[in-house]
């Protein structure tokens, strides 16, 4: 216990907030040629940087770039007449420019936007306080619809399309739980679920649960922290939509019980006998914790699962089972105190993805989280975890360790989530 206290104190002074801010700013301002292999998903790295700066409350760094980034994101929105109304966001400017009429000859191909980059683009806009007025909502809903496969999962990109008017998209891309989550988060954000066949989606998620208790990327595969988060967050978002607009779900066992079992009160859960799904899921999640969280059984801990598994537990109102001290110790061991950022493992190189997710994971452990309106709307329990091991130094507003909490369902800060909720209310009839 003494050792722990000592570590905690040491950690508090060691948290390199300024260096993390610089790390994200540097990345936003330009990256070396070795990022070429990440060009396809460039906007997701922008999302990690902008989201990370937001969690660090680096408002100056964001204010300085706000207009520039917003106009950059809008420049990624698909405007091709070829893809019709399917207006997703591209991952980078090269793809947008390729589709410009001047570049495509008759019979040439146009590339399609991706569901993952659309998710990232919308979250960047929300984080920067944009009102999404320039987002083509119905086009995006149609885009989502075009990507859902018969088994309920979603493909990641719109296929290569010939400008030959008679040609039909005939090829696809991989489809799994990651893109189910993207589809649900996007639908929630645009306030339009017409692009998601909810019963089919629920069926896919239901069939992807595993004997271990969590969810896999697809039916039959191994239980995994990332796919478990994607499944549970999708269910949370679907459930919040269904609370407003009840939908006649098929009476097939499982799929329609899954929502009740995970999120309703205990009495309701017992009444619907969802088969102990929630208990098994919580068990699986808490067993991922060594110090930090691992993504699978018998795999090493990795800083990004402090978000994937931590947020899953948060969504299940079960975060109080996390040993926050141990988690923070592990996360801090992956911090790069020289160049800033967090890495996957101790002594490896920090990167924007692990930095953002590690900060998001740490933000779930913050002791004074303002209860966001979105959380309220999503039916979150107001009781936030308080454990006796909280040191009083954590409470101090000057504590360098305090982070803006992340909203676990949409993976944006609670202020961005509150902003989204205001937008949705404003738009509601």
């Amino acid at each position: 216990m003494d050792g722990r206290d000592w570590k905690r104190k040491r950690r508090a002074v060691d948290f390199q907030r300024k260096k993390h801010v610089k790390f994200f700013e540097r990345t936003l301002d330009g990256v070396p040629g070795s990022f070429g292999a990440q060009e396809t998903n460039l906007i997701t790295i922008v999302y990690f940087c902008v989201g990370g700066l937001d969690l660090l409350e680096a408002s100056d760094a964001l204010k300085k770039r706000k207009e520039q980034i917003i106009s950059f994101v809008y420049s990624l929105q698909d405007k091709s007449p070829l893809t019709g109304l399917a207006r997703g966001f591209f991952g980078n400017l090269s793809d947008t420019s390729l589709n410009e009429a001047s570049n495509v000859a008759a019979g040439g191909f146009r590339v399609g936007p991706s569901i993952a980059t659309t998710f990232a683009a919308l979250n960047v806009l929300l984080t920067l306080g944009d009102d999404l007025a320039g987002v083509d909502r119905s086009g995006i809903a149609q885009f989502l619809k075009s990507l859902q496969s018969p088994d309920g999962s979603f493909h990641v990109v719109f296929p290569l399309l010939s400008s030959n008017p008679s040609s039909q998209p005939d090829d696809h891309s991989e489809a799994d739980m990651r893109f189910v989550f993207c589809a649900c988060a996007i639908s929630f954000t645009i306030g339009d679920w017409s692009g998601v066949d909810i019963p089919r989606t629920l069926d896919f998620i239901w069939r992807s649960r595993t004997y271990e208790g969590g969810f896999a990327q697809c039916p039959g595969a191994e239980c995994h922290g990332g796919s478990t988060y994607c499944a549970v967050a999708s269910l949370k978002l679907i459930s919040s939509f269904l609370q407003q607009q009840p939908l006649a779900l098929p009476s097939k066992r499982g799929a329609n019980h899954i929502l009740l079992d995970l999120f309703e009160t205990q009495n309701q859960r017992e009444a619907c006998s969802g088969g102990g799904l929630r208990d098994a899921l919580i068990r699986w999640c808490v067993f991922r914790q060594g110090g930090g969280f691992a993504g699978r059984a018998n795999k090493p801990e990795d800083s990004c699962y402090s978000f994937w598994v931590g947020a899953t537990l948060k969504l299940l109102n079960a975060y109080e089972f996390v040993d926050e001290d141990c988690l923070e110790d592990f996360c801090m061991s992956t911090q790069d105190a020289v160049i800033g950022g967090f890495a996957k493992w101790p002594s490896t190189r920090s990167d924007p993805l692990h930095t953002y997710l590690c900060l998001g994971g740490l933000s779930l452990t913050a002791r004074h989280q303002p209860r966001s309106a979105l959380e309220e709307m999503l039916g979150f329990d107001s009781a936030l975890p308080t454990t006796e091991c909280d040191g009083p130094e954590k409470m101090s507003p000057s504590d360098p360790f305090v982070l803006k909490p992340v909203n676990p369902a949409v993976n944006i800060s609670t202020t961005a989530a509150t902003h989204l909720l205001a937008l949705l209310r404003h738009r509601a009839p």
């Binding site: 292999a37 950059f72 400017l93 420019s97 570049n103 000859a105 019979g107 595969a221 996957k344 190189r349």
Partner: protein, 389 residues
């Protein structure tokens, strides 16, 4: 399709295409509706330029060698590159090589040219950015359009996957090629080889399961395969999960009866127990045992209980063993396998609470809050069996 008149240049293309695709020997007997010019195919193994896409790579070096100089080539002088666009946010300082290869690749996309030289270009583009979906989608269009023998493509994608084991797009490309070949025979050796590099690679397992499912293969000796991997590393959770896939998930997906009935279930229990006897502090077999026992607790309760008691009496206090015992007693209280009277159930509940407490205080302190919660939950659930105070 209009694309047919977009073939490039005259010449003997068949052997060229095969060379590009890495097809050896007599594969050239097939007449291909393709023609091509006199460019030099890049060497098959020119992989030095490949950036290491593994997320834990610390290579910040630019790819150096230029596999093929499109800019000065006679072969490509009819093509006007469409340059990449760096944005105002997070601009990438593209290397000249990256800019060149993708400039030409984008030009072919923009004109819709489906040609043998396009295949060559794809290989350079995929080497520089294997995550670019358009490269693979375009490549499949060319392969289809030129009716290329896909055996060579399978060899090509094998080499690419070996360099990019954890890239989604390359595995997806392989899946599409194998679907077209309608021949899964090489996939078992290939995935086994990839698992020798990383026995827990999610992509490989997911792919192997896809092959079994897509081709409805139920007579391949997958259990033996799993056993080999489990022997090599009993902590390989993926291999345990694959056993379950073969016995339960695959038959279900293919509309066949479960292979985990009667003697097969007995055999699996024995198999798992043998592993646990050697290594009780291994989460994977415990999870597996719980998984296969679901709906079958009643028949196997005495066996399983004896094993747990045995391990417990050897002073083993693995949280996985103790967690399993909690679940086992929970089943017993609920269903009355051995604890038939209220008094017996009350005693069992006291035992469960004691185990929870031991876990919280001694054996699994990191999950203290969870074990305390579970203890309360079970006490509440079985309140009626608690002795009246």
């Amino acid at each position: 399709m209009e694309e047919s008149d977009k073939q490039h240049g005259p010449g003997d293309a068949t052997s060229k295409v095969h060379k590009i695709l890495g097809v050896e020997g007599d594969a050239t007997d097939k007449t291909l509706p393709v023609s091509s010019g006199s460019y030099q195919p890049i060497p098959k193994s020119s992989t030095a330029a490949a950036p290491d896409t593994d997320s834990d790579s610390d290579s910040d070096e630019e790819p150096t060698n230029v596999a093929y100089d499109y800019g000065t080539s006679e072969e490509w002088k009819d093509v006007n590159p469409v340059p990449l666009t760096a944005g105002s946010v997070m601009p990438i300082a593209f290397t000249p090589q990256f800019q060149m290869v993708f400039g030409y690749f984008r030009a072919l996309l923009a004109t819709g040219e489906l040609s043998a030289r396009g295949l060559q270009l794809c290989e350079d583009a995929a080497r520089l950015n294997p995550a670019n979906y358009a490269v693979w989608m375009y490549r499949r269009k060319v392969l289809a359009h030129l009716a290329v023998d896909l055996t060579g493509e399978l060899q090509y994608i094998s080499r690419v996957i070996e360099k990019n084991q954890k890239n989604y797009q390359v595995w997806y490309h392989r899946q599409k090629i194998v679907e077209l070949l309608k021949d899964p025979s090489k996939e078992f050796d290939f995935t086994a080889k990839m698992l020798r590099k990383d026995a827990k690679n999610y992509h490989v397992w997911q792919y192997r399961q896809y092959i079994l499912r897509y081709f409805d293969i139920f007579d391949h000796n997958e259990l033996e395969f799993c056993d080999g991997l489990i022997r090599a590393d009993p902590f390989n959770n993926s291999a345990w999960m694959h056993r379950y896939y073969v016995l339960v998930e695959l038959p279900r997906a293919c509309g066949r009866p479960s292979l985990l009935e009667g003697p097969a279930l007995e055999r699996e229990i024995q198999y798992t127990v043998a592993q646990l006897m050697g290594q009780a502090h291994n989460e994977s077999p415990w999870s597996y045992l719980r998984g296969i026992l679901r709906d079958h607790w009643a028949e196997h309760f005495p066996t399983v209980q004896a094993i747990c008691s045995d391990l417990y009496s050897q002073n083993i206090r693995s949280p996985y063993l103790l967690a399993f015992m909690i679940d086992m007693y929970d089943e017993d209280i609920a269903q009355g396998f051995q604890a038939t009277t209220d008094i017996q159930k009350g005693e069992l509940l006291a035992r469960v609470k004691a185990i929870c407490s031991d876990l919280a205080v001694k054996h699994d302190v990191v999950r203290k809050a969870y074990w305390n919660y579970l203890s309360q939950q079970l006490a509440k659930k079985y309140e009626r069996f608690l002795p009246a105070v």
